[in-house]
């Protein structure tokens, strides 16, 4: 019987299958960060259990770390306790950790691929919903809760039920100025935030294949915003080339064997998908979110929706609630939305190509005087690379702040946050109420669109600044 890529990875990791459909799945790679792991380690200690495979586990502090001068350590007491706890736990259980002073430190979903820890055909988990990012490598990657983190630490397995197969095909070429961020925002707008619930999404089609490795990561990253457990893309030569020579990638004979295995990782012709959606790349435009859910998308040429046009009472109420929170009026043009802040970074758009895309727009330009803008590279290595290319100078000269790596204002656990009613063009992944700070208003955009908004001082069309 023809199998999907998801079926193949699933079958290859089955340790045990119960009659009721519950399965025990082997986990090849476990990423750990400071926020969702302390209670898991505590649980291990209380039950006198060990970490089964410390070598298959990699830890980093990213959510809580300051993005300004780190020489004085972390001033927030609770954040410091959490980061110190991670350090102590890693030491006690023998897990490799990239500490705050390590240049390999960065956002967990950026360092995994960067180090070659992320590999095709593996099952990768992390106590973080954006683990789907790693699906760009053709791995089955998904977020888990802290109890499950403890389960994986103790057993290197996870209790799972098989999800449905959902394929999204994107064919064609993207218009100028349109990026993979716009593609995934468009997809979420189309399927809705619960559209993928109970499914694993495979992204396919010639547009997807034409994307770079990093652009694919942006798409898989936001799969969770469409409600799916994981999103993946069949690996190809671009992926193999990206991984070759990375510190934790297979070497020598292992590399040859891995490559042979990886090359067979694709859905068979005729494989059955429970659900399928098709998109034409040519029809995708630069997108923004206007509301408080990632499905609230419009194009930059669009207008804010009017609740009066909504017949369903629940939907109308939820539109009104979102407009009220966002401080927007119905029918207002997207380009008339004035912004206060710009944030470029996060596991969605904090990689080198994202920074290049924004820097290209900002070169020899100044940001609007009322705008406060910052770039937070996704990792120490991204930061280093950007500095070698002189991107930091372009950002700083245009008026951006150039920060240290971490999750930063994507979830605002550290000092980087919006004040009430402040409005931000952000390259992150969630525009939930209060996500970037209590009362803060988030518009999700691509890095190029964030740069355009910084220059104009309002949400704006990145195509205006393309040469």
């Amino acid at each position: 019987m023809p199998n999907t890529l998801y079926d193949k990875i699933w079958n290859d990791h089955l340790v045990d299958q119960q009659a009721d459909g519950t399965a025990l799945l082997f986990v090849d790679r476990h990423l750990v960060h400071e926020v969702t792991s302390p209670q898991a380690f505590e649980g291990l200690r209380n039950s006198n259990r060990k970490v089964r495979h410390p070598k298959l586990t990699l830890a980093v502090a990213d959510h809580n770390v300051p993005t300004t001068d780190r020489s004085k350590g972390i001033s927030d007491k609770e954040s410091k306790i959490q980061v110190d706890t991670l350090e102590a736990n890693c030491k006690e259980f023998g897990i490799k950790l990239f500490g705050m002073g390590d240049k390999r430190q960065g956002i967990v979903h950026i360092i995994g691929p960067e180090q070659g820890f992320t590999q095709p055909g593996t099952v990768i988990v992390c106590g973080d919903s954006h683990t789907a990012t790693h699906g760009a490598f053709g791995s089955l990657a998904f977020g888990i809760g802290t109890s499950e983190v403890e389960h994986v630490l103790a057993t290197q397995t996870l209790v799972q039920k098989k999800a449905k197969n959902f394929r999204i095909n994107v064919e064609g070429k993207l218009p100028l100025g349109v990026t993979s961020k716009d593609v995934i925002l468009q997809i979420i707008g189309k399927i809705g935030t619960a559209g993928g619930t109970g499914c694993v999404i495979e992204y396919a089609g010639d547009l997807i294949r034409s994307l770079s490795v990093e652009q694919r990561m942006t798409i898989c990253n936001m799969t969770i915003e469409g409600g799916a457990r994981a999103g993946l893309i069949a690996p190809d030569e671009k992926i193999f080339k990206y991984l070759e020579g990375k510190p934790m990638s297979p070497k020598g004979k292992n590399w040859e064997n891995a490559l042979e295995y990886w090359r067979n990782l694709k859905s068979d012709d005729g494989a059955k998908f429970d659900k399928e959606v098709n998109l034409k790349a040519e029809e995708i435009l630069p997108m923004i979110t206007w509301g408080t859910s990632p499905q609230d998308v419009i194009t930059i040429d669009g207008k804010i929706p009017n609740p009066q046009n909504e017949k369903n009472e629940d939907k109308k109420n939820s539109l009104e609630r979102a407009l009220n929170y966002m401080g927007l009026k119905p029918n207002m043009a997207a380009k008339d939305i004035k912004i206060d802040k710009v944030f470029i970074g996060s596991c969605t758009n904090g990689r080198i190509e994202d920074l290049r895309e924004a820097a290209k727009i900002l070169k020899d330009k100044k940001i609007a005087s009322h705008v406060h803008a910052m770039v937070v590279p996704g990792s120490g290595l991204v930061k280093e690379q950007a500095e070698q290319e002189g991107l930091d100078k372009i950002f700083v000269n245009s008026g951006f702040e150039w920060r240290e790596p971490g999750c930063s204002m994507c979830l605002a656990m550290n000092a980087d946050k919006l004040k009430p009613e402040e409005r931000c063009a952000s390259t992150s992944n969630r525009n939930f109420e209060g996500r970037q700070g209590r009362g803060g208003r988030t518009h999700l955009v691509s890095p190029g669109m964030a740069a355009a908004a910084a220059i104009s001082g309002s949400l704006d069309d990145v195509r205006k600044y393309q040469n």
Binding site: V15, D28, Q39, R49, D128, G145, E148, T155, S318
Partner: protein
């Protein structure tokens, strides 16, 4: 884990769709290294004003809903972040059953690890049950027979049999998986020979 079998309570009704885990417990409370004590911060931004004073209109601040053990809410409850702090906060507040027409996957899983029963019912039934919240009348949840009983009515719900067993018996699923150690070892042995690069050997 605390067991779940039956539950009787006046439900609280939160008529909001896509309630995300940032709403259930905002990030400033994720800095804890404990599982307990989060109940006072449940739905923090909807529950308290800027000065930290309770907002009277918010459902969980009103009597008798401040004692509700059952929460009824709009579809796609628990979407967003994987933070298990969300079910920990519900549990600490005293809510051990959430009823919605759909749940986000990770949150749904997390509930079962903490003795919380998430129940999926269709929108019509949600409307009917929300009337009980409005009238401040108790409803009864029985996991054994997978039923919600309200007034003279009842509605069946479905729960995964394995998860049901874990909830009813309060089982530690790590111990259950470790009972399969032999199978895990065999799997690892095969893996080492077939895909040695996984272990970087």
């Amino acid at each position: 884990m605390q067991k779940f079998s039956t539950l009787k309570s006046i439900p609280a009704y939160l008529p909001i769709v896509n309630v995300d885990t940032d709403m259930i417990i905002p990030k400033q409370f994720l800095k804890t290294i404990k599982r307990t004590g989060l109940g006072k911060n449940l739905f923090f931004e909807m529950r308290y004003d800027d000065k930290g004073k309770e907002i009277n209109e918010f459902i969980l601040n009103k009597t008798p809903f401040n004692k509700s053990k059952i929460l009824i809410a709009g579809k796609n409850f628990g979407c967003g972040s994987s933070r298990e702090h969300a079910p920990w906060a519900l549990l600490d507040f005293g809510i051990t059953c959430v009823i919605s027409s759909s749940f986000a996957d990770i949150f749904h899983n997390n509930c079962f690890k903490n003795g919380i029963l998430p129940i999926i019912l269709n929108d019509d039934k949600i409307k009917e049950l929300s009337e009980y919240a409005n009238r401040k009348e108790e409803i009864f949840v029985d996991l054994n027979v997978e039923k919600v009983i309200y007034g003279n009515n009842e509605v069946r719900f479905k729960v995964d049999p394995f998860k049901k067993k874990c909830l009813l018996e309060g089982l530690d699923d790590i111990a259950l998986s470790l009972n399969k150690s032999k199978k895990i070892e065999n799997f690892e042995k095969d893996l080492k020979s077939q895909k040695p690069w996984i272990f970087n050997d």
